[in-house]
């Protein structure tokens, strides 16, 4: 049986459970995977891991990481990524800030989806009353549909780095989701690009 995981804590819990079922301690698993024991410890405690460590550990535990094939994936951005830190080549300062703010919303959505969706739905009527023009009305409709749809589609729409993502964030319904500290951190991160 498989279950979708969306947080590092969930990944760590699943890895730990599988390790224990095979009666391995963390040192054994680390040795078999060719990684450090501390790396396994951090992975299992939800503190994060490199992709290399994660894949090596999953291979030892025979837990293949499966992803949907291309024909089932939602459209991906074709925007060229910048050369530094894998950041998108968004040119304008406000676009960078907007993207970082919505990345923060995406993190919130992963931890508290129902609350974030409820806040966004509550914002939609006022946005709908203020927009005019066919294009803007359609963007708002897409947000409404996404809020009623699967999480991965909503996440994709939040952090798309192409022109469509930039357009959609212009009529974002997520005002009020983030705390002041979360917003400040996102703005500061965007300014470091």
């Amino acid at each position: 049986m498989s279950v979708a995981v969306t947080t590092e804590t969930q990944v760590g819990t699943a890895v730990r459970a599988q390790r224990l079922s095979r009666e391995l301690d963390q040192r054994d698993l680390a040795e078999l995977a060719g990684v450090g024991t501390s790396a396994v410890r951090r992975l299992e405690s939800g503190q994060g891991s490199t992709m290399r460590t994660l894949l090596a550990v999953l291979a030892v535990l025979e837990m293949p990481l499966t992803l949907p094939t291309a024909e089932h994936q939602p459209p991906v951005s074709r925007r060229v990524r910048g050369k530094t830190h894998g950041r998108p080549a968004l040119e304008r300062r406000e676009e960078k800030i907007s993207l970082e703010l919505h990345r923060a919303v995406a993190r919130r959505l992963r931890h508290d989806g129902p609350s974030v969706r409820a806040k966004a739905r509550a914002n939609l009527p006022r946005i709908e009353s203020k927009v005019h023009g066919r294009q803007a009305v359609d963007w708002v409709r897409q947000w409404r549909d996404a809020l009623d749809g699967p999480t991965h589609e909503l996440l994709d729409l939040l952090v798309r780095e192409d022109e469509h993502g930039i357009d959609m964030r212009q009529v974002s319904p997520f005002a009020g989701v983030l705390s002041d500290d979360e917003r400040t951190a996102a703005i500061r991160k965007a300014r470091q690009w």
């Binding site: 919303v105 946005i127 803007a136 703005i187």
Partner: protein, 107 residues
């Protein structure tokens, strides 16, 4: 989406935050200084942001960032009023068509 009264509100809020008497409105919403939203095509007021540049700011654009932090995108101001202020640095403002604006008084 942004009205002339929103513009006036944005000016008042921005001047209070940066503690200056005037700010520069940059970009498409500056046209609301001359025309009401009903006199303009829908595309002219499509955005929910108003770009504001402090008259005086340091090289790090600290006051522009302060505007972003206090009344910017996804802030409680945005949630309450349905639009937000985008802080703009002086370098960006000088590259754009800009309109210098004096805040309304007595409101």
């Amino acid at each position: 989406m942004v009205s002339r009264s929103d513009l006036e509100h944005a000016i008042r809020a921005s001047t209070r935050i940066v503690q200056q008497k005037s700010v520069i409105i940059v970009g498409s919403q500056a046209v609301l200084g001359s025309w009401d939203e009903d006199e303009l095509p829908a595309e002219a007021t499509l955005s929910v942001e108003i770009d504001v540049c402090p008259m005086h700011d340091d090289d790090a654009e600290s006051l522009a960032t302060e505007l972003d932090a206090r009344i910017g995108e996804l802030s409680s101001f945005h949630e309450t009023h349905g639009f937000y202020i985008q802080g703009v640095g002086r370098r960006t403002a000088l590259l754009s068509t800009a309109r210098r604006t004096t805040p309304m008084s007595g409101h």
